[in-house]
């Protein structure tokens, strides 16, 4: 299995994101906002000229700059000349961008690497938006069965309900929790709480998923800088350590998978991240996680995630969430999606993966203000592409936590 985990220690030294939502700015302006927020989060000026490699996740922002966007965006923030590329793995694009940057530093190839992501969706017409969302499923079979992503996740929900008795109330509990968290996040798209009744009475999109079971694809950018241990000590007083990186792929079409009620890629990616953490000397189990940003593109997706990550047994994710176990404050389990998640913070496809890292880093640094998870020491970011065809899981620890 290669030498994974045997690499150098790597820290996130800066992490920032733009406000997510309907943003009447261009791609460059959006990325600039995230980059500035990242610089500010370092506390010191780490020196942008030290970035040696850059990875920018994006699905394609409506095709506006499908070719060469990484060079364009880096040039805009003063990083002309840095080897950069766009990383594309659907909604897990910047999860994979982060992984690539991490491995570049861990391997010793570079000391400082940038990972980021960007997407603009709100300026697309309805037809174009569906087009850009629809290109990430199995276009030849799944899509030509009339299925969109809401449809695909609805099929998973239908099956989860059938096999485990999950209810629409369980699904809605995810939305209620994440909106409550998003209401406290100044960079979230939706900063309003919703009631269970309102979530349940929203218009049906794809039965059994209603409008409040679906996240909003939106505009946003995020940026993270990773550094080797030596460099990290120099440029920040508050490094957040990457304990392990895991990633996996799976059948693109859900009909090819043995089960509709689990994402094997989530399990495989988490297991790999755990192995890597262990190689670094840290045994991390689900119960050790204090704060988790998981990929809740649909409410059922969060239920699958908390099960597949082992926070609760398979099939119990709905009741587990509805019990308040994953609430930001006071639950028995880890705080899940304290940022509001994709559901309330918004889902700028390619910017979501590093956006999750931004939240985990902010939480572990204790800088999350109103939405701070108490005593957050160990964090997890879980990013999914499509309906589980691609996935990354990263584990993080606060300085001094281990």
């Amino acid at each position: 299995m290669g030498t994974q985990g045997a690499g150098r220690r790597v820290a996130v030294v800066g992490a920032g994101q733009s406000v997510f939502g309907d943003r009447p700015v261009g791609l460059k302006g959006l990325f600039h906002e995230a980059f500035d927020a990242m610089l500010e989060s370092c506390g010191k000026d780490f020196g942008r000229e030290t970035v040696e490699e850059a990875y920018i996740g994006s699905l394609g922002f409506g095709g506006a700059q499908l070719g060469n966007p990484a060079a364009l965006l880096l040039e805009h923030v003063g990083l002309t000349g840095v080897p950069a590329r766009r990383v594309e793995n659907a909604c897990a694009s910047s999860g994979f961008a982060f992984r690539d940057a991490y491995r570049a530093v861990a391997s010793g190839a570079v000391d400082v690497a940038l990972a980021g992501g960007i997407e603009k969706m709100n300026d697309l017409t309805g037809g174009h938006k569906r087009y850009w969302l629809g290109v990430s499923g199995d276009t030849e079979w799944e899509r030509l069965a009339g299925l969109t992503f809401p449809g695909v996740y609805a099929l998973m929900a239908d099956r989860h309900m059938h096999e485990y008795g999950t209810t629409r109330e369980h699904l809605a509990a995810v939305a209620v929790k994440n909106h409550a968290n998003g209401a406290r996040n100044m960079k979230a798209q939706f900063r309003k709480e919703v009631t269970l009744e309102k979530a349940l009475s929203s218009p049906m999109v794809c039965d059994p998923l209603g409008l409040f079971d679906c996240c909003s694809t939106t505009d946003g950018a995020s940026a993270v800088v990773l550094a080797s241990e030596d460099v990290a000590r120099e440029v920040t007083d508050d490094p957040v350590w990457v304990l392990g990186s895991g990633a996996a792929t799976d059948h693109l079409a859900i009909h090819d998978r043995p089960s509709l009620t689990e994402l094997p890629a989530t399990r495989a990616a988490f297991a790999q991240a755990q192995r890597e953490a262990k190689a670094h000397g840290h045994a991390v189990g689900p119960a050790d996680v204090d704060v988790a940003e998981v990929h809740d593109c649909f409410t059922i997706a969060e239920i699958l995630a908390v099960e597949d990550l082992g926070f609760c047994p398979k099939g119990e994710g709905g009741a587990y969430t509805a019990s308040g176990a994953t609430a930001r404050n006071g639950g028995d389990g880890p705080a899940v999606n304290p940022s509001g998640g994709l559901k309330a913070k918004g889902h700028p496809l390619g910017a979501t993966g590093t956006g999750q890292v931004v939240e985990v880093v902010t939480q572990l640094r204790g800088q999350a203000d109103d939405r701070q998870v108490p005593d957050a020491r160990l964090g997890l970011a879980h990013n999914v592409g499509g309906s589980g065809a691609t996935c990354t899981v990263h584990l993080f620890a606060k300085e001094g936590a281990l």
Binding site: Y131, G134, T139, E140, L144, G146, V205, D207, L260
Partner: protein
């Protein structure tokens, strides 16, 4: 066109042919299968029409009818000698039909869909000297052609006649009368001439004759008959199915044959665009040769007038479609034509796994040279289901959804093992639940750049 030994039609003064000799045709009708549209739509009064669902067209109706006929008679597509179709069918559509039946070599003959074409085609098939396998003659309409009654919705349906050397129902006489001039009573007069042209029609007992009329309005049919309507008159069942245009006369004949006493003649009179075609058949009628009631009773979705208007608003011509989907080129699409049209997947000889859709390696054992083509039965069960709300369709299906509104999609677990994603179609898709039985059917999926893309959907298994 005419029976062997018969004099050709003459265009003389009274516009009638010489009577045919009573010797039976060399080939005869062996059976027939009727398929009607999937939607029962209310029309004025208590009449209902069986119209095509938005995803049904001439191609899918032909394929459905041929498959059903083969299934009823326990054979596969190799049994077809040649296929003759009374419909407009361009080369692309012919290729889809041949591929969907798994017979790329299948000769397809075409008759333009005019009122007299179905009769001409059937008499021609019966009159042909024995050669090759059985002729499958399909008269079909999807109701989207200009109807005989503009402004009213046309019904959709197909009638398949199998004509073969051992077909028991032989053509014993035929007559063609062409309209000479316009005057009152002209058509009734022509009708009388045609009946006389059937040779012994005047000599046999009227009560022994089963007479089939093809006309869409029974009152007009009676007027045409020109005398007291005999109790054995079978007119085209417009009340049951609506206006089927050039398919009407075929359905009238099947009605008459299905109700005929064995060994007694059946007269068939077809008011045609330019006159009247008349024919008489006789022979032993096999009891199971005509599954007419099954076709009438086949479940159909019922829609009201608004529903009918929405169905009609779906324009499968593709004029409104924008090539904005995740563009799957036609070449890429047709690379999987056997899988899309007739569920041909794979079987792994190494691990005995069945695979669908086809791929380069076995998902079970990763074997790459162990995969044989394998035809799935198309039978399966709903594994998971969702209803795609308005506006939730992929761009390819935006036009379809604009017509039909919300639609259902599912993961279907095929009886042989693999699962497939597919749309549900036909009546009562909303009532389908997990574990309910479904069967695959060829349907029009979407239109891109003016090209119709066909593929499987699933419907409730009867």
């Amino acid at each position: 066109m005419s029976a062997e030994g018969a004099a050709p039609a003459q265009d003389d003064g009274d516009r009638r042919t010489a009577p045919s000799p009573p010797s039976p045709s060399p080939r005869g009708i062996k059976g027939a299968t009727v398929v009607l549209g999937d939607v029962r739509a209310a029309r004025t009064g208590d009449r209902a029409v069986r119209v095509a669902d938005a995803d049904e067209d001439v191609v899918t109706l032909i394929v459905k009818t041929v498959r059903r006929h083969l299934a009823r008679t326990g054979r596969d597509a190799t049994a077809i000698g040649d296929l003759r179709v009374v419909a407009d069918l361009d080369r692309d559509a012919q290729a889809v039909v041949a591929e969907a039946l798994g017979r790329e070599d299948l000769p397809i003959g075409l008759y333009a869909p005019r009122p007299e074409s179905t009769a001409d085609a059937l008499l021609s098939a019966c009159a042909a000297a024995p050669e090759g396998g059985p002729v499958f003659l399909v008269a079909v309409t999807d109701g989207r052609i200009a109807g005989t009654r503009p402004g009213t919705p046309d019904a959709a349906g197909a009638v398949l006649f199998e004509v073969a050397d051992d077909g028991p129902l032989r053509l014993v006489s035929e007559a063609h009368v062409r309209e000479a001039r316009e005057e009152a009573g002209q058509t009734a007069h022509l009708l009388q001439l045609a009946l006389t042209g059937l040779g012994d029609a005047g000599t046999r007992q009227e009560a022994d004759v089963r007479t089939a009329y093809a006309h869409v309005d029974p009152r007009e049919a009676r007027a045409l008959y020109g005398r007291e309507v005999p109790s054995n008159l079978v007119s085209y069942p417009v009340e049951k199915v609506g206006d089927l245009g050039h398919v009407s006369c075929a359905l009238a004949l099947v009605e008459a044959l299905a109700g005929a006493s064995s060994g007694r003649p059946v007269d068939w009179v077809v008011p045609a665009g330019r006159g009247v075609v008349a024919a008489a058949f006789t022979g032993e009628v096999p009891g199971d040769a005509f599954a007419l009631e099954e076709a009438y009773e086949a479940p159909a979705r019922t829609v009201d007038r608004d529903g009918l208007a929405r169905l009609a608003s779906f324009d499968p011509s593709g004029q409104g479609a924008v090539a904005q989907g995740a563009f799957i080129s036609l070449q890429q699409y047709l690379a999987y034509a056997p899988a899309r049209y007739r569920l041909v997947g794979q079987h792994c000889t190494a691990c005995d796994r069945t695979i669908f859709p086809p791929r380069a390696s076995c998902p079970g054992c990763a074997g790459v040279r162990t995969l044989d083509a394998y035809a799935f039965s198309g039978k399966g069960r709903v594994f998971a289901k969702t209803r795609i709300g308005t506006g939730g369709a992929p761009t390819e299906f935006a036009d379809y959804q604009a017509g039909v509104g919300s639609y259902d999609a599912a993961i279907v677990a095929l009886d042989e093992g693999p699962r497939v994603a597919a749309m549900l179609t036909g009546p009562d898709t909303e009532g389908l639940a997990i574990d309910d039985g479904v069967a695959a059917e060829l349907r029009l999926l979407f239109v891109q750049d003016g090209v119709r893309r066909y593929g499987f959907k699933f419907r409730r298994d009867a």
